[in-house]
């Protein structure tokens, strides 16, 4: 736990949505190449924690540092860039644009980074291949099965070679087989590329893909028990 500097560290995060306090002093460390599961009951603040760590929302209090930068103090412009280049995000659904084909969806982050269409599509194709959905590249998200669409989402999150992937219940809408395929693909690729993953889930079988687990309860990290 105390070995090298963490890649991403949050200290004493607080965040309220209206009158509900979603986070009440949560601290997390994510090391390079680590897969960390965040578990906890619904409403325990898991998603809010992810949003704060990924720079999607600013915490009310506490700090988030990534590679020497204070994420919680960055201007929105730099945050967008950070999320587009250094981070990848995967949600239960919604991160694919319904009107774009899977291939264009995966190519989009590259194009936003200035890559040409052809080059972006070529690289997107390679990533779809890794996730086993190359053949569905010309389909739109609505024409794919849930599992295929989610694997395309994972490809989109990883295509820019991010250092951290944030996944919020990535298997939440999938049956167990499709979920297993998506998780296996994510874990393999992340390990291969040395990408860190912050994995939010309420499913212990999904959490078991991680190297380590932290549990949230009422907005704070609770001890998971005596580690052997």
């Amino acid at each position: 736990m105390s070995n090298p500097e963490p890649l991403l560290a949050a200290r004493d995060l607080t965040k309220a949505h209206g009158r509900t306090e979603a986070l009440r002093g949560a601290s997390v460390e994510l090391h390079a190449g680590e897969i960390l599961a965040v578990t906890g009951a619904s409403g325990s603040g898991k998603s809010t924690l992810l949003h704060c760590l990924a720079g999607i929302v600013r915490p009310d209090g506490g700090s988030v540092s990534y590679g020497g930068e204070r994420v919680d103090r960055l201007p929105e412009r730099r945050l967008s860039e950070l999320r587009r280049t250094e981070f990848g995000v995967v949600f239960q659904f919604g991160q694919l644009i319904p009107e774009l084909t899977a291939l264009d969806n995966v190519a989009l982050p590259l194009m936003l980074g200035g890559a040409g269409r052809r080059e972006a599509r070529d690289r997107a194709g390679e990533w779809l291949e890794r996730f086993g959905v190359r053949g569905q590249g010309e389909l739109r998200p609505g024409e794919m099965s849930g599992g295929q669409a989610q694997r395309a989402s994972l490809a989109r999150a990883l295509v820019t070679g991010p250092r951290v992937v944030f996944a919020d219940e990535p298997t939440g809408a999938l049956d167990s087989l499709a979920g297993e395929q998506a998780m296996t693909a994510l874990v393999h690729t992340a390990r291969e590329a040395g990408t860190s993953v912050l994995l939010i889930t309420h499913d212990a079988q999904v959490a078991a893909y991680a190297d380590r687990e932290i549990r949230l309860s009422d907005g704070v990290v609770v001890p998971v028990g005596v580690t052997a």
Binding site: A204, Q205, A208, V224, G225, V226
Partner: protein, 177 residues
Amino acid sequence: MSTRHILLGLLATGPSHGYDLKRRHDERFPQARPLAYGQVYTTLQRLVRDGLAEVDGTDTDGGPERTLYRRTADGTRELARWAGEIAPPAPFVTNEIFAKVVVSILSGGDPAAYLRAQRTAHMERMRELTAVKTGPGADLTTVLSADYALNHLDADLRWMTTTAARLTTLTAEVDSA
């Protein structure tokens, strides 16, 4: 779990000796408890006694002498019957975890701490199993048997989570009884 039927099943591919059967069993059922060498021989002798298997001969193969066994026609019939028979949906689950929680309440211990520790141990085992099944070169047999164990551990875990959330009520109930 009927060891004799599993050994009968392994004999279906052809005559085999005890050591070979043990090795094949442990390979094919990676998440099951490994068979003890002595248990294999006792079981084989019972199969012979009941007429389900018979001695096929001996195989020296340079080393110590090994007895080869093969299945009888009765054995084939018995195996078919057993394989088609449903497994009784376990009516009495030996629930050690629940017993420990109750004993802990009765003796004034800390059931919540116990559940947390147990949960950690379960998660640790689930991570190991997941690593095994996602590891390089894991075949489908490995994946499926790991999945079986994972699902059972997950069921325990879910039960522990709901129990932990209801410990206060349980304590009151156990104490008043």
